[in-house]
């Protein structure tokens, strides 16, 4: 960082103090005496900054804890409700073999994996939404903005309509094709964003993504139009999102595929905070802007692709949850990212529970529920807060 002018130094110190707030660096700040040679007008008194930092840290912990409690409650309650009424004693009855115990099978094969899938997909889409919004510096960005989901959907449509059945062990043709479609879309968008720009133009990215989205959507319509009527219902249903994964194998595979994205998400928050000020500002603060943008793009794309291949393109989670969380906890990504993951998981679990029981035994598509519940709630929150 250049130390040419006092203002820059002051900025640098402020950034350090900011970034130290939640990361356990406050002790160092507390112990250190004000450095000699700092401009006398620096408003940051280290002691007060440290106090503020620890207060903020406590608040962040409280926030995380309450969101985690919410998710935990959802995970515990959701498997208990459903179209069939279950006796918990029967579910946990070890004296009967699992193969005979229908209640246990409903609980452990149908409901629990479904709830876990909802948690995983909700968290993933919310995280991807936060990162996309920060990367594109656009509040309207969603995990689906850059065409990943429509590429994924196109792959799935082609598989449902044209591909013969192919059974690996846990991987089947539709999720695989959907992953392939997502990967194709990501690479095309990335190549387009690179070609005209030696760096990483988020404007080109956004325009290319939106156009590709429209293009893939048109191809999806074409595939549907050409497919038989009996297929149309199923392809349409796939597009509304479905969390009924019937077992843990798909969940395990999705989790493994998600790991790199999750690692990236854990590493990103500070850089995203800096990026929120604009690429140039972030650059002057020593953030490797290009690398951060690439990482954010590929991590959120991977997360979106995996989530969509597991459960279909469930809309609204990726846009509403980040905004909701920001309205509740502020804009600091170090809080927003984990809180969005926790809240996104809880939100989708709740929506899926509603989808399962509201007109049981018939199910509602969960994508419809997320929008129907989420939109009014979000609007209420929006007008409630000044």
């Amino acid at each position: 960082m250049s130390e040419g002018r006092g203002q820059t130094v002051g900025q640098g110190r402020r950034l350090q103090a900011e970034s130290g707030r939640l990361q356990g660096e406050s002790r160092r700040l507390e112990d250190s005496e004000p450095a000699p040679g700092v401009a006398p007008w620096d408003p940051l008194d280290p002691r007060r900054a440290a106090q503020a930092a620890s207060a903020l840290r406590r608040r962040a912990w409280r926030t995380h804890a309450s969101f985690a409690a919410l998710l935990l409650a959802a995970v515990v309650v959701a498997p208990l409700v459903g179209s069939t009424s279950l006796d918990l004693a029967e579910v946990l009855d070890r004296s009967r073999p699992f193969a005979d115990n229908t209640a246990a099978q409903i609980f452990f094969i149908a409901r629990l994996p479904r709830v876990l899938a909802a948690g995983l997909v909700g968290a993933t889409l919310a995280l991807a939404g936060v990162v996309m919004q920060a990367l594109l510096r656009n509040p309207l960005a969603t995990p689906f903005t850059l065409g990943v989901s429509s590429g994924s959907a196109l792959g799935a449509m082609l598989a449902i309509t044209f591909l013969p059945a192919w059974t690996g062990n846990a991987l089947t043709s539709v999720p695989l094709a959907s992953l392939a479609g997502a990967a194709g879309a990501v690479l095309i968008v990335y190549a387009l964003a690179q070609v005209r720009h030696r760096g990483f133009s988020t404007d080109v990215l956004l325009l290319a993504g939106v156009t590709l989205n429209a293009f893939f959507s048109a191809l999806i319509l074409l595939v549907q139009y050409l497919s038989d009527f009996t297929e149309t219902v199923r392809t349409l249903r796939w597009l509304m999102g479905d969390l009924d994964v019937a077992g843990y194998a798909p969940l395990g595979i999705a989790t493994v595929l998600l790991l790199p994205a999750l690692v990236a998400f854990a590493w990103l928050p500070r850089s995203l905070n800096a990026l929120a000020l604009g690429a140039e500002q972030a650059g002057t603060r020593g953030v490797p802007v290009l690398g951060v943008q690439r990482l954010a793009f590929f991590a959120s794309s991977l997360a979106t692709g995996v989530a969509v291949s597991l459960a279909g393109p469930i809309g609204f989670v990726g846009i509403i949850v980040p905004h909701l969380v920001r309205l509740l906890v502020g804009a600091d990504h170090r809080v927003v990212l984990p809180a969005s993951a926790l809240f996104g998981g809880a939100f989708l679990i709740a929506c899926d529970a509603v989808a399962r029981i509201v007109i049981a035994p018939v199910e509602l598509p969960v994508g419809v529920v997320t929008a129907v519940i989420g939109a009014p709630f979000f609007l209420w929150l929006l007008i409630r807060k000044p």
Binding site: G82, S83, T84, A99, D100, N101, T102, Q105, I106, I109, A110, R111, R114, A159, I160, L163, P164, A165, W166, T167, G168, T172, S173, V174, Y225, D228, F229, T230, E231, V233, R234, R237, W238, D242, D244, V245, A246, G247, R356, P361, V362, E363
Partner: protein
């Protein structure tokens, strides 16, 4: 300019051989595969001058001009075939308005149960000048169904789920017959109880929870088109279903299971044969 010309040439309607002119009785265009089958069954086949793009049966439809289907009826081609009667699906109101303006009579059809199929067989006979044949064809179908019902009468009725679509290789996006419509009634004729009989809809999306809870003793999967067999049965993920444990999972292939027409008798018999093999020895 050359490009535009090429486009024009490419777009000009393919002139099909003119439809046979020596047709006796009203000329009919059918946009509904099941009614096309009925037309041929009542002896109005020679009068059928145009069929939908989904028609496959009987083999004669291959020689008829295609005029689109439910969502994309080609009004120009329909008019060019100079039909006296057009069979439309119930929801094609825009097409009906256009045909009415052109002064062409309409036979409106909607899928329903077996009763509607029998009624439609007779009605389409009347409208095409084959009243007797229509009545006879309905009689034949009715007799087939009664015969099958009697054949499996008294045998225990297995609780069955009739699956007509799911994701290849997985028990996901499973669609089954609800307690309404011709598939449900076929199952009844073939001597089985539908596990979704209480659901007042034609289709049910059967989640894994529903499938486990309803515990069908037999699973019958219907496929309109041939598909490569799956290496391992995906149903094994739901092991407590009696049909899975007893290995009573049957796949029936053929479009008679999705087209409620005169072949419903065959469809019912195919179902009865897998549900009650002992009755057909």
């Amino acid at each position: 300019m050359a490009c535009a010309l090429a486009l024009l040439v490419a777009c000009s309607p393919r002139e099909q051989a003119p439809a046979p002119t020596e047709v006796k009785g009203p000329r009919v265009v059918s946009l509904v595969p099941s009614v096309t089958e009925m037309l041929f069954a009542v002896g109005a086949g020679p009068q059928v001058v145009g069929v939908s793009s989904f028609d496959k049966f009987p083999a004669d439809v291959a020689s008829r001009p295609r005029v689109g289907a439910l969502l994309d009826p080609d009004v120009e081609r329909i008019l060019a075939l100079k039909p006296d009667l057009v069979v439309t699906y119930g929801s094609q109101s825009a097409l009906r308005a256009q045909l009415e303006r052109a002064g062409i009579a309409i036979f409106e059809y909607r899928h329903g149960g077996i009763g509607e199929t029998l009624e439609t067989l007779e009605a389409i006979g009347v409208r095409t000048g084959h009243t007797e044949e229509g009545r006879a064809a309905a009689g034949v179908l009715r007799a087939q169904l009664v015969g099958i019902r009697q054949r499996v009468e008294g045998a225990p009725r297995p609780r069955t789920v009739l699956v007509f679509g799911r994701e290849p290789g997985a028990v996901r996006n499973v669609w089954a017959s609800g307690g309404k419509g011709f598939l449900h009634e076929l199952l009844d004729v073939a001597g089985a109880d539908n596990v979704f009989a209480d659901v007042d809809r034609e289709n049910v999306q059967a989640s894994s929870e529903l499938l486990l809870a309803r515990a069908p003793e037999v699973i019958v999967e219907l496929r309109a088109e041939a598909r490569a067999p799956e290496a391992t049965s995906p149903w094994a993920v739901l092991p407590s279903i009696p049909a899975v444990r007893g290995n009573r999972i049957h796949v029936l292939q053929g479009d008679q299971f999705v087209v409620p027409g005169p072949r419903l008798g065959q469809a019912a018999e195919a179902l009865a044969r897998v549900l009650h093999p002992e009755a057909f020895r």
